[in-house]
Symmetry: C2
Subunit: 390 residues, 2 copies
C-alpha cells in the first residue's frame, strides 16, 4: 500500500540525514504530520495525540512512536519494518499527570540514544511546550536544538512523482472551482455551495481520489470580503455581492490551491473591476519572472513594481511554497515571496502566488499554483484568470 | 453576527476568571481555537498562524491578538469592542528570526501586565515550545504557570443554548450517517462515498448550516478495520467486507460524533456478529449508568463488567467529553471515561461513548453521543444501534 516506492522514502531520509550531520544533530524528532508522512508513508488522522518519527544517524530506517491503536495504521501504510514501530499505552492520552513523551524517552534510552543531540520542531504545531519539557526532564543527558523546518526544507524540491501528484491535484482543483462557480447563485445558502465544493474535493477525478485539504473551503461573501479565512453559514448569497473563494485540489495530501472571486451580477462596481485588473496584471508580472536562479524576494518585487501605478498596497506576502500537507495549513513554511527571502528558485519547487486584497471597501482573490521547470514554470491547473461574473 | 448573546460570552469569561483567581493567575493566554471562539465568538481558519486571546482580571473583555489580515474577522465575528482587537504585522508570519510572540509581549508591556502571573496552555496544540520561549525571553518579570485545560473545564457544562446547538448537530449526524449508508456499496470508490458524507456534513439540515468537523470522515474497509483514524482512497468497496465509519454532525463547531459499522453482505462472519452483540450490550450497560452524581470511571467500569463474560478487552478509554471544537480533535480534553477519572457527572455535560474494537481479525465501531439531564441522559441523535447489513 506504499504511496511512493521504498527507494523514494530512503532518498528523502538520506537527504534529511545530510542536513542533520551539517547541523550536528544525531537524532531528529518529528511530530509534524506532513513530515512524518514524507519520511515514512504513515498517513492517519492521529495527529491530535502526541506521536513522532525519530530519524537516527545510527540506523537506516526511522522509528515511529504513536498511540497503540494507531500502530496498525503505521504497519499498513508506512514502509517501516515492524520492529521500527513502537506503541505507547492508551492511558497516556490526555493524561494530566503522565505524558506520552515519558514513553518516548524510555524508548530513546533503550536505543542508547539518550546522550545524543536531538533536533526537535520547536515552532511546528503538534509539538507542544509540555512535550519539550517532559522530554528534557526524562533525558537529562541529551542536548536539544531547534530543527524546526529541517524536513520542510528537504521537501522544498519535489521529485518527478511528487510533481505528477501535484498535477493530479491541479486537475482536482479545476473540478473544485467549477463546482463552486456552478453552485454559487443568488438565493443559494452558503453551506449548500460549500457542500458541493467539499464533494468535488473528496471525489477528485474519474481516475484519482481527491483528498481532504489542509484548509477547508474558505468563502467570504458581502461584508466578509474584507477579511480572509472565514467559512460558511446558512446565509443566502445576495445579488450584486462578491464572493471570495480560497479552495484547493488535493491528491494524497499534495495540494494545488485555487482562489477566485465571483461577482453575483453583471455590473460589478468600478472599484472591483479596477482592483481585479491591477491585481491580475501584477500576478502576471510576478509569474513572468519565475525561472531557476531568480530569488524569492525578487518575484515579489516584480509584483510590487507592476502595481506601483495604482493605489493598491499589499502588506502581506505574495505567496509561499506548497506540496504535501495536513491541517491546519497547506503552506510548507519554507519559502515566502516577500522582502528578505533570499531563497534561489530551483526546478522542482512549487509555489502558490495569491495576491489577496481584503480592504474595507473591496475584497478580491485570484491565484496561481505553479511548479518550477528547468526553464521557467508550469501551471498546475488551467482556470481563467478573471473575475467571474454570474 | 454573534453566535451567542453577549451575556453568554460574559458569563463564560466570569467563570474563567473565577478559576484564574483560584489558581493565582492574573492573565490567561489562550491559543486553542475552540477556547478563543468560546470566550469571544471569533471563528476563522487562522489557527495555522500564531494568535491568542488574553483574559485579564483587570478588564471585563479579553483582548484578541492576531495576524493583521485576520483582524477584520475578529471585528465582524467576536463580541469584543474594537479597542480590544490588536494586530501584528504580516512579516512576522513564519519568520525564522522575529516571532509573533514578540508583538504579543509588546502589547502585554503596554497594558502594564508584564510583571503578572500568566497562565498558558502548555500542552494544547497551537501553542508551540518556541512561542513559550519567546514570551519568556521578552517578559523577564512575568511568571508563567500551566493553565492547560482551564477553559476546557469551563466548557464542560453546556448552557441550554449550547445543548440546542448540539441537538442540531445530532440532526446533522443522522443525515451524515444516512448518506454514508446510502452511498457505500460494492464497487463504489471510497472517495465517492466520502464525498457524499462531506456533502451531508456541510449542508446540515433544511434549517441549519452544517459545519466542518474537527476530524474528517474516518473510513476503514477490509484490512484497514484493524485500526482507526484512516481515510479514503480510490479503492472500491468489496463484497463481504466490513467498513468502519467514524463521522460527526456539526453545527457552529458543536459536534455530535456518530460511528457505525457496515457489512457489505448478508452473511457477516460469526466473529463480527458476536463482537457487535457484545459491544452493543456493553455500550447499553454503560449508558444505563449515566445520570448526575455518577463518577466517570464508574461508567467505564459498567461497560467492562457487562462484557466480562466475553473475550473482548478494550485497553483504550470508552469515551470522552464533547462540545465545541476545531481540527485536529473534537474531544474536549477534559473527562475521559476510564479508570482513574473521578469527575462527577453533572447535568449539561455531553459525552461521546465509542467502544471501538480494532483487532487483527475483526474491527467494529458503534457509539452514542449524549447530553446529561437532571435525571439521566438524552441521545443527541436517533440512529439504530446495530451492525448495518447491506
Amino acid at each position: 500500500m506504499l504511496t511512493f516506492p521504498r527507494e523514494e522514502y530512503l532518498a528523502r531520509i538520506a537527504k534529511t540525514k545530510e542536513r542533520m550531520q551539517k547541523e550536528g544533530i544525531d537524532c531528529l524528532l518529528i511530530s509534524q504530520q506532513a513530515n512524518m508522512n514524507y519520511l515514512t508513508g504513515y498517513d492517519g488522522w492521529s495527529f491530535y495525540v502526541h506521536q513522532c518519527v525519530i530519524v537516527s544517524l545510527q540506523q537506516e530506517q526511522p522509528i515511529w512512536i504513536g498511540r497503540s491503536m494507531d500502530a496498525n495504521g503505521a504497519r499498513i501504510l508506512s514502509f517501516l519494518d515492524d520492529e521500527n514501530i513502537y506503541e505507547y499505552p492508551d492511558y497516556l492520552v490526555q493524561n494530566p499527570v503522565e505524558h506520552p513523551m515519558h514513553h518516548v524517552a524510555k524508548i530513546i534510552q533503550e536505543k542508547g540514544w539518550d546522550k545524543q543531540t536531538f533536533g526537535v520542531e520547536m515552532d511546528q504545531f503538534y509539538f507542544t511546550h509540555r512535550a519539550y519539557l517532559e522530554l528534557e526532564a526524562k533525558l537529562p543527558n541529551a542536548k536539544f536544538v531547534d530543527a524546526n523546518a529541517l524536513v520542510n526544507w528537504v521537501r522544498v524540491i519535489k521529485s518527478p512523482r511528487e510533481i505528477e501528484f501535484m498535477k493530479i491535484a491541479g486537475q482536482v482543483a479545476e473540478n473544485v472551482m467549477q463546482a463552486a462557480v456552478d453552485s454559487i447563485n443568488v438565493g443559494v445558502r452558503e453551506c449548500d455551495a460549500a457542500a458541493e465544493i467539499a464533494r468535488a474535493q473528496y471525489r477528485g477525478t474519474a481516475e484519482h481520489s481527491g483528498d481532504y485539504p489542509a484548509i477547508v473551503p474558505l468563502m467570504m461573501a458581502g461584508e466578509k470580503t474584507k477579511t480572509p479565512h472565514l467559512t460558511w453559514t446558512e446565509t443566502k448569497f445576495k445579488a450584486d455581492e462578491a464572493v471570495l473563494l480560497e479552495l484547493s485540489g488535493v491528491y494524497r495530501h499534495y495540494h494545488s490551491p485555487i482562489a477566485r472571486t465571483i461577482f453575483l451580477g453583471q455590473n460589478p462596481p468600478p472599484i472591483m473591476t479596477e482592483t481585479a485588473e491591477i491585481v491580475t496584471e501584477g500576478l502576471a508580472a510576478a509569474l513572468d519572472s519565475i525561472k531557476p536562479g531568480v530569488v524569492a524576494e525578487d518575484v515579489e518585487a516584480r509584483w510590487r513594481e507592476a502595481i506601483a501605478h495604482s493605489s493598491i498596497v499589499k502588506e502581506s506576502r505574495l505567496g509561499y511554497s506548497i506540496g504535501i500537507n495536513y491541517p491546519p495549513d497547506w503552506g510548507e513554511h519554507t519559502i515566502s515571496l516577500r522582502p528578505g527571502d533570499k531563497t534561489v528558485i530551483q526546478p522542482g519547487m512549487a509555489l502558490h502566488l495569491i495576491p489577496g486584497i481584503w480592504y474595507d471597501n473591496v475584497g478580491f482573490e485570484i491565484d496561481a499554483s505553479i511548479v518550477v521547470t528547468e526553464t521557467g514554470y508550469e501551471h498546475l491547473f488551467d482556470f481563467p484568470l478573471d473575475l467571474v461574473l454570474k
